[in-house]
Subunit: 106 residues, 2 copies
């Protein structure tokens, strides 16, 4: 399963965000790995952060809920969320807005 | 090697672009495969087309030049290019604007 999503990066935090992501905390990476996330990249286009990841578990929502309960991840998000503005259309969505796939070639 | 890039989709072509990409011509897909491109997805965010692909050849520029010489691909681009506005910053860049990666987790 492939997941692409976007969030807005507040321009005043661009350099700080980039530097922070050069050395993401090992606990945060471990929580993602434990949640069956792999091949996870984040790209920057203007003020837009674009993420692409692959998920090979059985229950994406449940695994993402587990990531959200991880204590290190919560501390990480306390730092990164204020650097961002969510582009979700309703509160029921995640912080990052998920994008529709219009093409795929294996 | 991972490549993410963006191009603007002219809003009046949104539906046509989506439908066209539900059945990309086999020759176009074959040219990409022959150029060592795999795991290629395109996502839509507003008017922005976001592509992600993986390349496992030895010379990306040369392989992309070969794709650009492919006759079916040229006909395909004659249809799709007018649906798009390039976001490249100079003519020396490709039609799609390549994005910097700010994070990656294998």
């Amino acid at each position: 399963m492939r997941v692409a999503s976007v969030v807005e990066l507040r321009p005043e935090y661009e350099q700080e965000y980039i530097e922070l992501h050069r050395a993401v905390w090992p606990e945060v990476l471990a929580a993602l790995k434990a949640a069956h996330v792999s091949n996870y990249s984040i790209y920057l286009h203007g003020n837009l952060l674009i993420s692409y990841l692959e998920y090979d578990g059985d229950d994406y929502e449940a695994d993402m809920a587990r990531v959200a309960e991880d204590e290190a991840t919560q501390r990480w998000w306390q730092i990164t969320d204020p650097m961002q503005r969510s582009l979700r259309e309703s509160d029921s969505e995640g912080w990052w807005r998920r994008l529709p796939e219009v093409f795929h070639l294996d």
